[in-house]
C-alpha cells in the first residue's frame, strides 16, 4: 500500500510546473512554511550563542565524518556489548533483505514503524510487502501519507501538502472503525488516529525505527519526536529493528547536547521537542537489531565539496525557507528528501543517471536562504553549483554556452556582438523562440539600447 519514489518519471521543472498550477497546494504550502519559518526565527533569535552552536554542530559532524570508520566500529562494539546485534547494509537491497529476514524469523506478518526517512529511502515497506509483511506507519503524518497511498512531501511534515478536509476524507475512506460523524477538526482527527494506532501498538510484536542520532561511545540510539508514538513503538514490541544511515553518528554524549539544541529549534521551532527517547542495546525481554545503512553515503563522503551534505540532521529548516520548495512542493523532487537538501543529497546518493536526478541541482535560484538557516552550516548553494558542473548538459545548451564563452573571452568579440544586437534591436520579436520563450511567456524583454556602455565610453572618453 505504500507508494514509491523509485523510477519516478519526469524531471523537476515539469513536476514543478504542474504543482505551481495547483492553487490549493500553493496555499497549503505557503501557510505551513511561513508559520514554521516564523516560529524557527523567533526561537533561534532567543539564543545569543546560536552561531557558536551552529559552528559546533558543523565541527562535530565534520570530525565524525572524517573518522567515521573508527566511530562506526566503536558503535558496533558498544551495541554488541549491550546485547544488541549489528548488521551492515551496503545498499537498499541488502538492508531490505536483512530487515525482512529478521521479521520473518519472528514469525510475524505485521510490523509497526516509527517515522524513518532511511526506510523510506530504501523503500522498505514495499520490500516487506513483497514478503507478505505489512508495515504500519505510526507517525501521524506518515500515517496520513500511507493511508492516502501517497508520497511524503516534507522531511518533518510529510503530509504538509494535505489540508484537514482532505485528511478527513482519507480517514473516512481508509481507516477501519472510524466514526461516521468524524469532523475535520484537528483534535477529532488526532483522536481518531490515536485510537487507530493504540490498537496497533498493543498488537504488534515487531517494530522498525530510524534514529536521529547514534552515540558511539555508549552505543545509544536517540529519537526526537512530538507525538509519543515513537516511544510506544520503541518500548512495546518484542523485537526492535533500527535502520540508520551511517552518517547519523556522534562520538559522545557531550556532542549530543549541541544537537538537542540545534534540532528542535531548527525543525519544529520549539525550544525542546516533546519526546526524546534513547535506547542502548537490548532491554530485558526485547531483541534489538541495528542495521547500519550505507546506500551511497561513502560515495558522498568521498566527494570533497559534496560530503558536507552528510552533516544534515534532517531538520527541514532549508525546506521551510526555500522559495522554490514553497512553489514546487515536495513531490516535484521525486525523493524522500525534498527541498534544498534533497536537491544536493538525492543526486549524490542516486547519481545523476535519470532526467529527474540530473535536474535536481538546478532546482534552486541560488538565493542562499537555505545556507543561512542550516543548523550545521551546509553551504547548499556551493554544493549545487559543484553538482551542476558534474551534471549532464543538453547539446544545444552546451553549444550556446560555448559560443557565449568564446564571445566573453575577448572584448573585441563582445563589442562586435553588442553592435550586431544594436543593429537588430528593432527586429527582436516580443516572443522569443526556443528555450528563451520561457522568458517571454511571462515577462517583457528589455529594449536593446542604441549603444552599449563600452561604445559610449569609447566615443566620449577616448575621443
Amino acid at each position: 500500500m505504500s507508494a514509491t519514489f523509485l523510477g519516478m518519471p519526469g524531471n523537476f521543472p515539469k513536476n514543478a510546473e504542474k504543482a505551481v498550477q495547483n492553487s490549493q497546494l500553493r496555499f497549503n504550502l505557503r501557510k505551513a512554511t511561513h508559520t514554521i519559518r516564523g516560529k524557527r526565527a523567533s526561537v533561534v533569535g532567543e539564543l545569543p550563542d546560536w552561531q557558536e552552536l551552529r559552528a559546533a554542530g558543523k565541527a562535530i559532524k565534520d570530525h565524525t565524518l572524517r573518522n567515521l570508520d573508527r566511530y562506526l566500529v566503536q558503535m558496533e562494539e558498544a551495541v554488541t556489548r549491550a546485547g544488541g546485534t549489528v548488521h551492515w547494509a551496503r545498499d537498499a537491497a541488502e538492508a531490505n533483505r536483512i530487515v525482512a529476514d529478521l521479521v520473518k524469523a519472528t514469525g510475524e506478518t505485521e510490523v509497526v514503524k516509527v517515522k524513518s526517512m532511511a526506510t523510506q529511502e530504501i523503500n522498505l515497506n514495499d520490500a516487506l510487502a513483497a514478503e507478505g509483511i505489512t508495515a504500519y506507519e505510526t507517525d501521524l503524518a506518515e500515517l496520513i501519507v500511507q493511508l492516502g497511498d501517497d508520497f511524503p512531501s516534507h522531511i518533518l511534515v510529510p503530509a504538509i501538502h494535505r489540508n484537514r478536509s482532505e485528511i478527513r476524507e482519507i480517514f473516512l475512506e481508509k481507516m477501519p472503525k472510524v466514526p461516521d460523524n468524524l469532523t475535520d477538526d484537528p483534535p477529532a482527527l488526532a483522536e481518531a488516529a490515536r485510537l487507530h494506532l493504540r490498537e496497533r501498538f498493543l498488537k504488534s510484536k515487531v517494530a522498525i525505527s530510524g534514529a536521529n542520532f547514534m552515540v558511539a561511545e555508549t552505543g545509544t540510539l536517540v529519537v526526537l519526536e512530538s507525538e509519543g508514538n515513537g516511544r510506544m513503538c520503541l518500548t512495546l514490541p518484542r523485537t526492535l529493528i533500527s535502520v540508520v544511515g551511517i552518517e547519523k553518528l556522534l562520538p559522545s554524549w557531550r556532542d549530543l547536547e549541541v544537537f538537542l539544541q540545534l534540532l528542535p529549534r531548527s525543525s519544529t521551532g520549539e525550544r525542546m521537542n516533546p519526546y526524546t527517547s534513547m535506547w542502548t542495546g537490548a532491554v530485558e525481554g526485547q531483541d534489538f537489531h541495528l542495521v547500519l545503512l550505507d546506500n551511497g553515503r561513502t560515495d558522498v563522503l568521498a566527494d570533497e565539496v559534496g560530503r558536507q551534505a552528510l552533516r544534515c540532521i534532517r531538520c527541514s529548516a532549508c525546506l521551510n525557507v526555500c522559495p522554490v520548495y514553497e512553489r514546487a512542493g515536495g513531490h516535484a523532487y521525486g525523493s524522500v528528501y525534498p527541498g534544498p537538501i534533497g536537491a544536493i543529497l538525492t543526486p549524490q546518493l542516486r547519481g545523476m543517471g535519470s532526467d529527474l536526478d540530473a535536474s535536481l541541482p538546478y532546482a534552486s535560484s541560488l538565493c542562499g536562504a537555505c545556507y543561512e538557516v542550516c543548523p550545521v552550516a551546509i553551504d547548499i548553494p556551493e554544493v549545487l553549483v559543484d553538482l551542476r558542473a558534474k551534471a549532464p548538459h543538453a547539446a544545444a545548451e552546451r553549444a550556446g554556452m560555448k559560443v557565449a564563452g568564446w564571445i566573453f573571452n575577448d572584448h573585441t568579440r563582445l563589442a562586435k556582438a553588442q553592435r550586431v544586437a544594436t543593429r537588430l534591436r528593432k527586429l527582436v520579436p516580443k516572443r522569443l523562440p526556443g528555450p528563451l520563450s520561457a522568458w517571454t511567456d511571462t515577462r517583457d524583454i528589455p529594449d536593446i539600447p542604441e549603444e552599449s556602455f563600452r561604445d559610449w565610453w569609447e566615443r566620449n572618453e577616448r575621443a
Binding site: 512553489r327 535560484s365 538565493c367 548538459h393 566573453f408 572584448h411 563582445l414 520561457a438 515577462r443 517583457d444
Partner: protein, 243 residues
C-alpha cells in the same frame, strides 16, 4: 583614487545608463574613474550553470584586466559576490591563479560598499522626488551582506520617499539561468514579488542588480503596472539639475 569600473556584461549590453550613472556619480565624488576596455564578464553564468572550464577562463581574464587598480567598483551585487565568494574556490590553492585572485578580490566593491566603506559618504548629493521601494537582491543581502548600506544612501536622497517592501528578503525568482530552466517556479516567484511591490504604492522599484530588475521589471511591464525599475546608481546619480 584610481577606480576601475567593472560595468558587468549585462549592464554593458542592456543597461548602459547604469554605467553612465556610476561614472557621473563617482566623478562628482572626486574619483578618477577608468573603464578598462578589455573587461568582459565575471563568468557567473557559466560557473552557476555548470560550465566551470569557461568560468575559470573568464575569472582569469578578470584578474588580468583588473590587476593594478586601487579599487574595482561593480554596480551589481551579484557579480561582486561572484568575484568575492566564488573566485577563491575556482583556483587550485598555491597556484598562480590563486595568487592573482587573492590580489584582486579584496579590492572589488559593490557600489554601495564603495560609497559607504571606502569614500565614507552617505549623502551623495542626489535629488529624486519620487516614492521608491527597495528590493535587496539575494546576492547583495546574503552573499555580500550589504545590510542597510543601500537604504542608508537612499534615505539621504532629497525628495525621495522610501517605503518598505513587504517580504523584501524573498528571492524574486530570477536566479540567472534558473529563470529559463525552471520557468514556472521563476514566474510564480516573480508574480509574488510584483504583488509585494504593488502593495507599497511605490512608483519606482530600486535594486543594486539589473539582472534581477530585468526579471522583475519585465514582469511588472507585462502586467502593465506602470511601476518603473531603476538601478541604485541611477537614483544616486540623479540631481536637481538633471531632473
Amino acid at each position: 583614487m584610481r577606480v576601475a569600473l567593472f560595468i558587468t556584461c549585462v549592464n554593458d549590453t542592456l543597461f548602459p545608463g547604469t554605467g553612465k550613472a556610476v561614472v557621473s556619480l563617482l566623478r562628482r565624488l572626486g574619483c578618477d574613474v577608468d573603464f578598462p576596455a578589455a573587461q568582459t564578464c565575471c563568468g557567473q553564468m557559466h560557473v552557476n550553470t555548470g560550465y566551470r572550464t569557461e568560468g575559470v577562463r573568464l575569472a582569469r581574464h578578470f584578474t588580468e584586466v583588473f590587476a593594478g587598480y586601487d579599487a574595482v567598483v561593480a554596480p551589481s551585487g551579484s557579480c561582486a559576490a561572484m568575484v568575492r565568494e566564488q573566485y577563491p574556490k575556482l583556483a587550485r590553492p598555491g597556484s598562480k591563479g590563486a595568487a592573482a585572485i587573492a590580489e584582486v578580490v579584496p579590492k572589488v566593491y559593490e557600489l554601495s560598499e564603495f560609497l559607504i566603506d571606502v569614500l565614507k559618504v552617505e549623502d551623495v548629493g542626489a535629488y529624486f522626488p519620487h516614492r521608491v521601494t527597495y528590493h535587496p537582491t539575494c546576492h547583495s543581502l546574503r552573499g555580500l551582506r550589504l545590510g542597510d548600506r543601500p537604504t542608508r544612501l537612499l534615505q539621504h536622497v532629497r525628495g525621495l520617499e522610501l517605503v518598505p517592501l513587504p517580504e523584501a528578503e524573498e528571492c524574486c525568482g530570477f536566479g540567472g539561468t534558473f529563470a529559463v530552466k525552471n520557468p514556472a517556479v521563476s514566474a510564480a516567484m516573480g508574480a509574488d514579488k510584483t504583488r509585494s511591490i504593488l502593495d507599497t504604492g511605490a512608483e519606482v522599484l530600486c535594486a543594486a542588480d539589473n539582472s534581477c530588475l530585468m526579471h522583475i521589471g519585465g514582469t511588472l511591464s507585462r502586467q502593465k503596472t506602470g511601476v518603473r525599475t531603476m538601478h541604485l546608481a541611477e537614483i544616486l546619480a540623479s540631481t536637481e539639475e538633471a531632473q
